[in-house]
Amino acid sequence: MLTREEWGEYAKKFYKDYKDKPEGEAKDFAYQQGKAFARTLIERMGIEGDDVKAIAAVLGAVLKYEPTAKVEIHGDKVHLINEGFCPVMETSLALNLPWEKMCKIMGWPFFLGLAHAVNPEAVFIAPEELKWRLKGDPYCFHIFEIRRK
């Protein structure tokens, strides 16, 4: 449940701290942040279970202030579709940060951390492989999947 201002501040600080560090380190930090954030939400909102419904609930809570974000459950998968003007793009443009890098080292590892807080086996398929607004697609498409063994 990040407000726009909180998100902007977070992105700015993140980039300042990690722009010169190895990419792996930055990704790991964002991943751990996502995990910690999701754990707080799970506790505060009483989200139970380790299935796709729990992942969807966490995503829904995180993206509460995102008017165009849609979280849908399709079998063993959670689809996160975000259309319209991208918040990462908005922040990158306003603060003069590299958009692509922000998605790759901050946004996606953060999402993976959120999902792993619910289920460490969850698989995340990033928009780069699906639909990505940076490539000119009309929306960003993320998939969170819990694969049956």
Binding site: T68, G84, F85, L93, R133, L134, G136, P138
Partner: protein, 435 residues
């Protein structure tokens, strides 16, 4: 012929064969022009091969590479630094078939030296230079070069006593930074003067490389955003149409909950668009300032056309104008969308206002009814009050009648009831005279 040969060998040491101009942009907080050590120069010195010798570490850094001399000078411009490498070669002579030496014709050691420059420039210009004796010789050399190298010319012109021709790039912007290859032929007779003029002219070209490199980088970084604006604009337009459809329904069919969620959504998009528009406007202003600088350089050159070729200034300015216009066009598109959203926000607010007004009219009607009921109740109470007072008066009169006429007390009491009622009415009027 002998005279020419001697003159050319004399000028060989003073007049560079190739000038390599490479520009870098730094983050403003990291750019410290006054710091003595230069990381780029240090990197070059560390990577020097055995057959290279440092002649001078003072500005300009001078290195001898086999039979060539390389002078590296740096020019700072706001948040960018441009390195100008002048390669002086004794390889050139009149027997050389091609008057201009290309980078590939230089020794591998020179290439290695140039490869030591960091790989993240904003622009890289290569100028093949030549000291000609007048315009006719320059044209002849230029024609010979085109004929031999088969490289098309994009533009050419005469500026600051030089014939300048910009060659067509094989793959435009493939590396992500701006590249230009040019032929530069001095038209000055005197060798000393020609070298000095070339130095000044190259300084202008270095500023040009810095400005165009920064504009080009800004444009490249924003190109993906322009693309996103296009697709998101379509998407937002559709959403606006949906919401307009909802809001155009009769007011009683639009629920306050729907209005609330619409207001949240539109406010969110509106504030995001406001940030994007103002950031884009900031970039547009920056791009325009770069373009002004570019125009300023061309204006100071006062370029004259060369037969059949468009001038460098007209071609280059129109290229960069196109980039700057993209910023302006996107600002206009975003602004138009923002106005639509603002109108939608006003419509939602008006709807909410009308609904609030309806609610207050209903409330007023209810209050009126309640008031009428209370008035009625009060009137009933007033009537009851008369009976209560009359009852007490009758009871008091009965007490009196019991003491003075005990036998006919009931008759007297009954007869007294109308009198008691009249008295009660009188008392009520007396008490409520103030109201």
């Amino acid at each position: 012929m002998v005279h020419n040969s001697r003159s050319m060998s004399e000028t060989a040491n003073e007049f560079p064969a190739i000038m390599y101009i490479v520009s870098y942009q730094f983050e403003p907080e990291r750019f410290k022009p006054k710091v003595q050590s230069d990381p780029v120069e240090e990197g070059i010195l560390n990577r020097l091969s055995d057959n290279c010798k440092v002649i001078s570490k003072e500005h300009p850094l001078t290195i001898s590479v086999n039979s060539h001399i390389c002078k590296i000078r740096k020019i700072d411009d706001e948040d960018s630094r441009t390195y100008v490498v002048s390669v002086f070669s004794d390889k050139r002579d009149l027997e050389n078939e091609n008057a201009f030496l290309g980078l590939n014709e230089l020794s591998p050691q020179i290439r290695r030296l140039l490869d030591a420059f960091p790989k993240n420039p904003i622009s890289e210009f290569t100028a093949m230079t030549r000291h000609s004796r007048g315009l006719d010789e320059s044209f002849a050399e230029l024609e010979k070069y085109f004929h031999l190298s088969n490289k098309p010319v994009t533009s050419a012109g005469i500026a600051k006593n030089h014939l300048l021709a910009i060659l067509k790039e094989d793959i435009e912007n493939a590396e992500g930074y701006l590249r230009r290859s040019m032929l530069l032929s001095s038209l000055e007779d005197s060798a000393d003067k020609a070298a000095a003029e070339l130095n000044n002219f190259v300084e202008d070209i270095a500023h040009y490389a810095s400005l165009t490199g920064r504009l080009h980088r800004l444009f490249r970084e924003r190109a993906v955003i322009f693309k996103q604006i296009e697709s998101s604009e379509k998407n937002t337009q559709e959403r606006i149409q949906d919401m307009l459809g909802n809001i155009r329904r009769p007011p009683d069919q639009v629920k306050p909950v729907d209005l609330g969620s619409m207001l949240t959504e539109v406010s969110g998009i509106f504030s995001r668009l406001t940030t994007i528009t103002s950031s884009m406007r900031r970039d547009h202003i920056l791009a325009r300032s770069y373009l002004r600088g570019i125009r300023g350089i061309f204006n100071s050159w006062d370029e004259k056309p060369v037969i059949n070729y468009p001038t460098n200034s007209s071609v280059e300015i129109s290229r960069f104008e196109g980039m700057v216009d993209s910023f302006g066009d996107n600002v206009d598109r975003l602004e138009a969308l923002r106005i639509q959203l603002d109108t939608l926000l006003d419509m939602i607010r008006t709807h909410v206002g009308i609904q609030q007004q309806n609610v207050s009219v209903d409330e007023q009607r209810d209050t009126k009814k309640l008031l009428a009921r209370m008035v009625n109740l009060q009137e009933v109470l007033h009537k009851l009050e008369i009976f209560v007072v009359a009852f007490y008066i009758t009871e008091m009169a009965r007490l009196v009648f019991e003491t003075i006429a005990h036998d006919i007390v009931n008759i007297l009491t009954v007869v007294f009831i109308p009198v008691a009622l009249l008295l009660a009415i009188g008392i009520r009027k007396l008490l409520h005279r103030q109201e």
